[in-house]
Structure formats: structure tokens, C-alpha cells
Symmetry: none
Subunit: 264 residues, 2 copies
């Protein structure tokens, strides 16, 4: 259980509003994926279904985090926020990631539309790696440490191995598979890979924050705000890019919006 | 943190009822956009999808504002409402606008149906301008000031630049693009632009309220009631007009309600 630093009105409210922003972003990007489903050819709709699950799961966990944040603090007469005695439960994030991170790699592989057998083996490898990445990070997350050379550092290192493996698969193996695609789809694919690297890269930085002595109110705020933005980009923003890829491929294949069925 | 003035029973209840009215307007206009989607040709449905997201996001934030209003006051034995100690969180409005204002310009551009490349450049320009407009307004909003020549005034001025740019694009550039359209569509388009100008024009007035010494209970009530009405018109009313444009264009193009596919 972490110490909860005293927060100013502005600090508390910033996190409060960012958590609320994340809830709204997740719910309504999900609504978009449902309503816009018939704008992509039937074979790409499964990616939008998976996107919907990802942001739905994230919305659920952000609601829990929001409620926990609200319960963990109480306002003083001076207008500051102090710990209420109820701990702030941040572990919701790990449960969320355990479910959503494997799904994020699934939606990307599905939208690319590889041959059936290649797709299955790619999915198996990536899902196992994503799962291991989160699982190995957790034991370190709950250990406090002020040095890289600690148990927290060791678990973090172990968790980095599957992360590097995922990056390798996406850049090398999937990169090769993309060569036959149209220019527009290749650009979109390059952008989504960069979004994934940039947003996923934020999590290990937060993980290492205690090593750099980043503790107290300011770090707590930076971590909560940073996670919220990274999650919105990595889930809702990522889903919109998956939609853009699916839409571009559907158009290239001659699919017209509103067709109830298409041979493609 | 703003001082919360003591309110009479009637003042408190007026805001309470207006916030509830806004929630109902947003939810059920959204339901209309979903249910009436197949009354417009497939290529215009994306505008109705975006309308649904806008009012959905607004409904979410009005629910939060409503709850915050309820928690921020308590009734006295004399029947007045005094601050409960929990601050009234109005910042939800900014988060709402940050998400919905860009979407409002998107739905208008999409329903006009420009050529693909022209549409992309128009969307990029308008979305960035809308985003900047909200972002630049926020730092001033949280600063109190009783003069135009203050930091609040400066941020407000900066925020006005993208606003003027948006008005310019809608009147000049989009105006030209409308010339080939039918008379009915042109009238609808003129009306929706006026609605946009009239409703969006309300926000800077509220922003400047402290400069005119409008503080205390009466201003608080006027601001909350005014925002609620402006938001209902600018989101739900605007969405209905977008629907009317989409419907008129669908009819003009020979689309019949319930057709599952159309060549257009």
C-alpha cells in the first residue's frame, strides 16, 4: 500500500478530470466502433469488434479507478485533499492490461488479413508474449525499490523480454507481410506501429519512476495523467487507426458503405 | 477554487432542472440519430454517427455536472442552499468541448460531401483550429480577473483567433463549395451556420462575465442556465439540422428509405 501524498485542489482535480476524460473517450470510441461497423467490409469487422471490447474493458476499469480516486481523498477546510484512509487502488490497471493488451495485438493482426495458417501462428505468439509481458511486470510493480538493481528492477527486466519480442514481430515479420499492400495502407500501418511503440514506451518509464526518486505529489499526478493519456491513445486512438486501415482496405477492394453483404 | 454563493430554493432548482433537461435532450437526440440512420443514404450516415457521439459525450458530462451540482450544495432549515464543502466541478465542460467541438465541425464537413482530397484538408484545418480554440481558452478560464487586460483576457484573445479562422472557413471556403447544391440544401446550410455562430457566440460572453463584474448568485445561475441552453442547441439542435441536410440530399439523390444499398 502506497503512501498517499497531500494534494492541492488543482492537482486532485486534474487527475479527477483526466480519469473522467478517459472514461468518456473509451465509452464513445466504443460506440463509434459499433455504429461504424458497416462502413468496413465484413471480413474486417472482427477487428472493430475487438476494438470495442478493448475500450469497453478500459471504460469499466477507468470507472473503478475514478471511484477509487474519489474515495481515497477528502477535502480539508483549507481546500487541500488528504488521504481519507481508503487506499487508492491502482492495481485495476494491471487487470485491465492483462485483458486488453493481448486484444490490442489481435486487432492489428486481424486487420492485416494474413493467410489463415500464418495468422494463427502469429496470433498465438503475440498473445502469449503480451500476456507474459504484463504478468512479469506485476510482481515488480507492487515492490517498492529505489534502485534498478532490486527485485522490482529484475521483474521489470524480465517483462521487457516479451516486449522486445513483440516489437520484433511487428517490425520484421509483419513488416514483410505488408509489402504487397497499397501505399495508403502501408502509411497507416507504419503510423499505427509508431503509435504503439510511443504509447507502450510510456509504461516502462512510469515503472522506473521510483528508481529516479520520482515520488510524492508531483510524481503521483504525472503518473496518473500520463497513464490516462497513454491509455486513451493506445486504446481509443489505436482503435480509430485500426478502423482507418479497415476502411482503406475495404475501399480498395471495392466495398461500398451500406452493402449488406459483399463477396470479398 | 471558486466561491460558491448562497442560492435561494428557486435559483438552485432552476439550475438543477436545466441540467436535467440537458441530459434528457442529449440522450434522446442521440437515440433519434441511431434510430433514424437508415432514413439517409449510406454516404451521409457517418454524419449521424458523429452526431450520436457528440450528444453521447455531452450526456455523460451533463450527468457528471448534475451530480457535482447536487453534491456541492446542501439545503438549510430556512430553505436556502449553501455550499456543502464539496466544490462544484465545472471543468467537465472543457473536457466535453475538447472532445465535442472538433466533432461538430467534422459532422458538418462530412454531410456536405466534398471531393475526397478537399474534404481531408478541410477536416484537418478545422479540427486543429477547434482543438486550439478550446485548449487556449482553458488557462484563462481558471484564472480570476476583473479586467479585459489580464491573463484571462489574453488567453481569451488567443482562443478567439482559431474561432475567427473557423468562421472564415465555414463562410468563405465552404460557402463556395455549397454553390452547386439545391436551394433547399443551401437554406439548411445557411441556417446551420447561423445556429453555430449564435450558439458558439454565447461562450465568449460567459468567459468575459467577470470583466463586467457579473459575479455572485445571479451570474452563476445565468451562466449555468445559459450554458445548458447553448449546449442543447449547439449539439442536439445542430445534430437535428445535420440530419435534415442529410435527408434532403438523400431525397434529392433518389434514395428511398429502407433501401439496403444504393449506388451513390
Amino acid at each position: 500500500m502506497l503512501e498517499q501524498p497531500t494534494l492541492t485542489f488543482g492537482e486532485y482535480t486534474l487527475v479527477y478530470n483526466m480519469l473522467s476524460f478517459a472514461i468518456a473517450a473509451m465509452i464513445f470510441s466504443g460506440l463509434f466502433f459499433v455504429l461504424a461497423r458497416d462502413r468496413v467490409a465484413p471480413k474486417y469487422r472482427i477487428s472493430l469488434v475487438v476494438s470495442t471490447l478493448v475500450v469497453g474493458i478500459a471504460a469499466y476499469h477507468y470507472l473503478r479507478i475514478f471511484n477509487s480516486w474519489e474515495a481515497a481523498y477528502m477535502i480539508t477546510d483549507a481546500g487541500n485533499y488528504i488521504a481519507s484512509g481508503k487506499p487508492f487502488n491502482d492495481a485495476y490497471r494491471y487487470i485491465d492490461w492483462l485483458l486488453t493488451v493481448p486484444l490490442l495485438v489481435v486487432e492489428l493482426v486481424l486487420v492485416i488479413g494474413l493467410a489463415k495458417d500464418k495468422q494463427s501462428s502469429m496470433l498465438t505468439k503475440l498473445v502469449i508474449a503480451a500476456f507474459l509481458m504484463i504478468l512479469l511486470g506485476y510482481p515488480g510493480e507492487i515492490l517498492m525499490a529505489d534502485s534498478m538493481f532490486s527485485m522490482r528492477g529484475l521483474w521489470g527486466l524480465l517483462s521487457t523480454i516479451p516486449f522486445i519480442y513483440i516489437v520484433y514481430i511487428l517490425w520484421v515479420e509483419l513488416g514483410t507481410a505488408m509489402e504487397g499492400q497499397s501505399g495508403q495502407v502501408q502509411v497507416l500501418f507504419r503510423n499505427i506501429r509508431l503509435l504503439l511503440l510511443a504509447t507502450w514506451g510510456f509504461y516502462p518509464i512510469v515503472y522506473m519512476a521510483p528508481f529516479f526518486g520520482w515520488t510524492g505529489a508531483e510524481s503521483e499526478i504525472a503518473i496518473q495523467v500520463g497513464y490516462s493519456i497513454a491509455d486513451v491513445l493506445a486504446k481509443a486512438g489505436y482503435g480509430v487507426m485500426i478502423y482507418a486501415i479497415a476502411r482503406a482496405k475495404s475501399e480498395a477492394e471495392g466495398y461500398e458503405v451500406g452493402q449488406s453483404a459483399v463477396s470479398a
